[in-house]
Structure formats: C-alpha cells, structure tokens
C-alpha cells in the first residue's frame, strides 16, 4: 500500500510541477562558438568569424620579420598564411604544439594556429557580455559557460584587420 501511495504521490507531484512551470515561449537561439585553448588560456571564437577548422596541416615556414607568421599551409588546394595565436596574443612564439588551424572568414584567406580545440559551444545571447578589449582590441567581451566561468571572446576579424593594416603599412613603406 505504501508503495502504491508513494507512486501516486510522485505522479501527483509531477502533474503539479508541469502546471507550475510557465508556458514555454520562443526559445533563444544559442550563438555558436568554438571553445579553444591558447597557451593554456581558454577563448571563445564566434563561429560566424570562422571559415573552417583544420588539424594536422603541414605548415611550410617562410622567412619574415613578423615573428607571428608560422608559414604557409595548403588548405583546400589554396596556400594560406598561418599566424600563431599565442604570439599574436602576447605569448612566446612556438611555445605550444599548435596543430589546430582556424580559418578566418573574410575576403583574404588567413589561418590562425592554436594548440587546443575544446569543441563547439552554443551560448545563449543572454550569457554574452559585449565589450571592447581596450589595449587588447582583439577581445570582444566575455561569455559565461556552464561550469567554466566566464571566458573571453576572441575576435578573429579584428586580428585579420590588424594584420592586413600592418601588411599595408609594410607595403607602403616598402613602396616608399
């Protein structure tokens, strides 16, 4: 009898809980991000700024004054310049095994190498706090991840613009 009473109680509690919940509205569509690790630091990269992710590509080194430039990698039949994210973000170049390459979306194919791909993350827009990076303009705010605290959002487009501007300056100086 007690078992039957217990089951009836559970069914009643479930019934009450269903009607106690508010009616579901239009759910927020989560923003897709890539969760990566650069020199041990977690970053989020908006999937909208990514043209592709590749692993284990061979990078042919190029002689250059830019120490962030790792070399050229053949991705989908095109040569793509690859920069080390750790060096760009202020770390030591070549400190980690940067086997992952993320292609930045844009007119110019540009690859950024990093050392750890944690995976895909869908983050609700409410959990995203926008902001400028200040002296680090490649950071575009933070986002809260379940069980991982807040993680900075890395702006690949900003990094691509910075590299393009630096290349333009270099070209102009070379032309002068």
């Amino acid at each position: 009898m007690s078992g039957g009473g217990g089951s009836a109680g559970d069914l009643r509690a479930a019934f009450d809980r269903v009607f106690a919940e508010p009616p579901p509205g239009r759910p927020e569509r989560p923003e897709p991000f890539l969760h990566i690790g650069v020199a041990g630091q977690p970053y989020l990269v908006a999937l909208a700024e990514v043209a592709g992710v590749h692993a284990g590509c061979t990078i042919a080194p190029l002689p250059s004054t830019a120490h962030e430039l790792l070399g050229l990698a053949g991705i989908r039949g095109e040569p793509v310049p690859v920069f080390g994210l750790a060096a760009l973000l202020g770390g030591a170049a070549g400190a980690e095994d940067q086997r992952w390459i993320v292609l930045a979306a844009g007119p110019v194919p540009l690859g950024f190498a990093f050392d750890m791909l944690e995976g895909y993350r869908g983050i609700a827009p409410g959990d995203i706090v926008a902001g400028d990076g200040g002296q680090e303009p490649w950071l575009g705010g933070t986002a809260a991840m379940a069980g991982a605290g807040r993680c900075p959002i890395l702006r690949l487009a900003v990094l691509a613009e910075m590299l393009a501007a630096r290349a333009d300056r270099a070209n102009r100086e070379r032309e002068r």
Binding site: P32, L47, V50, H54, Y120
Partner: protein, 490 residues
C-alpha cells in the same frame, strides 16, 4: 765432624781406640817378653856350653887319672872308668859342636880340639898297652914321656879359650836379658798407665759428648713434647669442631638427599613434558610443511595473477590504441561537423537543414569524443589499477616469497626446535638418570659422612689419649732433662 757421629759410632770409636792402645801395649809387652825369654834361653845355652866344657875337661882328666891308676895298680877297674871317660869325652865334644853350631869360631876350636883329644886318648892307650906288656915300669916310663901332659895342656888351653869366649857371650847375653827385662817392665807399666790415661780421656770425652748431645736431644724432646701437647690440645678442639661439623654435614646431606629425590621426580616430569613437546613439535612441523605447500600454491596462483594482470595491461594498451583511432575519428568527425556547420551557415536558408544534420553529427562526434574521453579515463584508471594491482601482486609475490622463505625458516626452526627438544628430552633423561645416581651417591656420601662422624668422635677420644700421652711425655722429658743436667753438673 764428630757432631754428626751416632752414639754407636762414638762408643765404637772409643772402645776401638782403647782396645788399640791395650793391643799395642800387649804387643809391645809380648815382644819384650819374647826378647826376654830369648835372651834367657841364650844365657842358659851359654851356661850349657860352659858346663859341657867343664865336663869335657873332667872327662879328659878321668881318662888321664884312670890310666895312671891302672899303670900304678894294675887294677882292671880303672880300665872301666877309662873306657867310660873316652866315650864321655867323645859325646861331650859332639854336644859342644852341636851347641855351638851357630858359632864358627867355636867350631874351629872344637875342630882343633878333636885330634888333640884323640891324640891324648892314643897316648893313654899306649901307656895301657905298655903296662900290660911291660909291667909297671914300662907303664910308668910311658907316662913319664910327658906327651900326655903336653896334649892335656894344649886341650886345656883350647877349652880355656872356648870358655872365655862363652863367658864373654854370657856377659853380653846377660846384659841383653837384663835390658829386655827392664824394657818389659817399662812397657807394661808405661803402657798400662798410658792406656789408663787414654781410656779415661776417651771415656770422659765420650761421656761429655753423649751428655751434651743427649741433653740437647732431651731439650728438643722437652720442647717437642710441649709443642705436641699444645698440638694435641688443638687437635682435641679441632676434633670436637670436626665432629660438630660432620653432624651438620650429615644433616645437610639428608636434606640434600630429599632435594635430590625431588629433582629426580621433577626431571622425570620434565622428560615426560619434553616427549609431549617433541610430539607436538612433530605435528607442528607437519603443519608447517602443509602450510609451506599451501604457500607454494599461493605463490603459483599469484604468479598466474601477475601474468594475467600483465596480459590485461597489454590488452588495455591495445584498447588504448583502438581508442586513439576512435578518438581521432571523433575529432575528425567533429571538425567535419564544425566545418559543415560553418558551410551550412554560409549557405543561408538552403543550408539550414544541412546545418541541422551537421549539428547532429557534431553532437554525435561530441558524444563520441566525450565517450572516448570517458573510456580513455576508464582505461587509464583500469591501467592504473592494473599497474597498481601488478605492483601489489608483485609485492604480494615478493611477500609470498618472503613468507615462503620465512616459512622455510620457520620449518627449519621447527626442525631445529624438534632436534633441540629431542636433545632436551635426552638431556632430561640424562638429568633424571644422573639425579638418581646422584641420589645414590649422596646416600653413599651420607653413609660415609656418618662413618667420618664416627671416626671424628673416635678421633676426639684418640686426641684426648694423645693429649694425655703428650702430657706424660712432657713430664718424662722434664725428668730426663733434670737427670741429664744433674749428670752434667756432676
């Protein structure tokens, strides 16, 4: 040197010296007496010679007078005297020659005398013949010739010479006899006096030496008897103490007999317990051997476990390798899904359905990646557990080895203990036997001690007798000392 002489030697030497002196005096006296006798014999001999000389002259005178008587009277009786005188003359001359055989001078004289005697006898014979043949006148005429007188004078002269010779010899021999007699007298008197003096001196010396030595010996006997008396006193006291001690020893030995019997009984119980312990030890040895066999089986099982765990480790490594492939596939799927999502987003509305599929593929790859991570974590945990188990098993194996060795040591110890227990059992039996023998020996000692106690009591009595004898000896030594000292002073 004489201090070391014995009494017998001193007395023998004293008597020997006295006897030698007496013997010397007797020898000298004997020699003097012999000389005296010899000198007397020589004097008598000289007297005999002189008597024979006188007899010779007398016989010649008889020859002459008998012839004259017959010539004058013609009586034949004179002839008988004449014949007897002739024979007597010849015999006397023969004796004289014999008596003076050792005197060559007298022998020469008698050699000269013999023809004269024969000449005188021949003259007489001629006168006798003339008387018979011519009568008185013829006979007287024959006598008147004077031949007979001449012959007689010459005979008398020779006899006188011989007599003087004998007289001189007599004088010398008489003087020698007198000298011998005097020497004999002095020898006897002087020897006697000297012998008496020497005997007195030897006796005095012997008495003095013996008295001194006996006195010294008596002094020693006196002191020794006093010491003997003191020693006897001590011996009496010691004998009493010994008797008391022997009584105490007898009491102690009786207690020792009782204790020895108790020890024998305890040793018998110890031997019984040792035999029981030996049996238990043999059972324990068998149990240890059984346990050792079990440990050997455990060791084999542990070895099999280690082998299985190592095999499990190898299999987990193979699983890890497969999981690496799965993980890599999941990663590639994830990359493809991400890229598909990106491509779907770039395709706009046309890519929405593909985006949903790519999202499902990405979720699937995420799940595969998560499962792979979990499986890897599980495999890592399992490999860690396997490694821990292998290490623990190896440690257990080593522990089993150590336990096996320890069990071997325990078994060895058990065997040694069993051997020691056997030795202990034998020792306990020997102790039991020895204790019984000891009890017997102690009982014999008790008997001997009783005998010794009896002997100590008898020794006490004997010591009392010795003390009494020592006291009497002391008194006797004092009396003897008084006698000797009085004799010495006397």
């Amino acid at each position: 040197m004489m201090k070391d002489w014995t009494f017998g030697r001193i007395l023998a030497v004293g008597y020997a010296v006295a006897g030698a002196i007496l013997l010397l005096v007797a020898a000298v006296g004997f020699r003097s007496t012999v000389n005296l006798v010899e000198d007397g014999a020589l004097v008598t001999h000289t007297h005999d010679v002189r008597r024979e000389l006188v007899n010779l002259v007398a016989k010649m005178t008889d020859v002459e007078t008998s012839v004259r008587g017959f010539v004058i009277s013609g009586d034949e009786a004179h002839l008988t005297l004449h014949e007897g005188a002739q024979a007597g003359v010849r015999d006397t001359l023969a004796r004289l020659r014999t008596l003076t055989a050792d005197n060559p001078v007298q022998q020469r004289r008698f050699a000269d005398l013999a023809p004269l005697i024969e000449q005188r006898i021949a003259i007489s014979e001629r006168a006798l013949a003339a008387r018979r043949e011519g009568g008185v006148q013829a006979g007287i005429a024959a006598v008147r010739t004077g031949e007979g007188k001449q012959a007689m004078d010459r005979i008398r002269a020779i006899v006188a010479d011989a007599d003087r010779e004998e007289e001189a010899l007599l004088a010398r021999r008489a003087a020698a006899a007198a000298s011998s007699a005097s020497w004999t007298e002095w020898t006897i008197v002087g020897g006697s006096v000297l012998g008496l003096v020497l005997v007195v001196a030897i006796g005095w010396f012997t008495i003095r030496m013996l008295t001194r030595r006996i006195g010294s010996a008596v002094g020693h006997v006196e002191s020794s008897s006093a010491e003997l008396q003191a020693a006897a006193n001590q011996q009496v006291a010691s004998a009493r103490e010994q008797a008391g001690a022997m009584n105490e020893i007898a009491t102690t030995i009786r207690e020792l007999i009782a204790t020895s019997r108790q020890i024998a009984e305890s040793a018998q119980r110890v031997a019984q317990v040792a035999e029981d312990t030996a049996a238990t030890s043999r059972d324990g040895d068998k149990a240890v051997e059984t346990a050792n066999a079990s440990i050997s089986g455990i060791r084999r099982q542990v070895d099999q476990i280690v082998e299985h765990m190592l095999d499990l480790g190898r299999k987990s490594q193979q699983i890890g390798a497969v999981l690496d492939i799965v993980s890599e596939l999941a990663e590639q799927s994830n990359i493809l899904a991400i890229n598909a999502t990106i491509e779907a987003a770039g395709a706009g509305d046309a890519g929405k359905r593909f985006s949903v599929v790519a999202d499902e593929i990405r979720k699937l790859s995420d799940r595969v990646a998560d499962s792979t991570k979990e499986i890897r974590s599980l495999i890592d945990d399992m490999r860690a557990a396997v490694n821990t188990t292998v290490m623990a098993t190896e440690t257990g194996s080593k522990a089993v080895d150590a336990g096996s060795r320890q069990f071997e040591a325990v078994a060895t110890s058990f065997r040694e203990i069993a051997g020691m227990i056997e030795t202990t059992t034998d020792a306990a039996r020997e102790i039991e036997l020895s204790t019984k023998q000891q009890s017997t020996a102690v009982e014999q000692v008790n008997i001997a001690t009783s005998n010794v106690a009896q002997a100590a009591t008898e020794s006490e009595a004997s010591s009392g007798q010795i003390l009494q004898t020592a006291s009497e000896l002391t008194s006797l030594a004092r009396d003897l000392a008084r006698i000797v000292r009085r004799e010495t002073r006397g």
